[in-house]
Symmetry: C2
Subunit: 117 residues, 2 copies
Amino acid sequence: MEDLPLIALTPPPPYFAVIFTTLLADDVPGYADMADRMMDLASRQPGYLGVESVRAGSGITISYWSDEASIRAWRDHAEHALARRLGRESWYTAFALRVCRVDRDLFFERPTGQDPE
Amino acid sequence: MEDLPLIALTPPPPYFAVIFTTLLADDVPGYADMADRMMDLASRQPGYLGVESVRAGSGITISYWSDEASIRAWRDHAEHALARRLGRESWYTAFALRVCRVDRDLFFERPTGQDPE
């Protein structure tokens, strides 16, 4: 499977997922830049496997990690900790965060019927 | 925490999540009706705890379940099995499906500062 938009090409299970479901306030100065910055910063942390995110203001972002220690290290990253504080104070009216162990997965890609380029 | 849009008010962990990340084809006749029907049907299955879904054509839908047997029973539900076949044949260009055990979670809701109604 080649690179696809949205879908993270994670390795075989087990691995870990952080599901972050957010409701945004009406006015969120600085949020979009910070969200982009955090996506970029997360992708350079040890144990990072990928991310899937659909946001339309409110939204769902799932990051995938090789182990729980990597999730804790990212939680405690200084710049991320600042972003999390701003999130609670300014941007999010509500959120749910869930840490999961992925036990099995399944990927599907429809054959295109086209010759490879 | 009262009813919130998007966020599923799941019970304390452990419980299970099915993360379904989809890329839709350009033309998807019957998809929206079937997706709504499946959301409704899932919500009436044993072990169902809630759903979170953000779809803009492609999207992420996460359903929460009390145990893995309930996830398997829903997978094998006859009407759902038909929908899954149509999905592979007609609607999805690609998807990832992940079954996870949620080990910990965290809910945040900003105080409104308003008197209760």
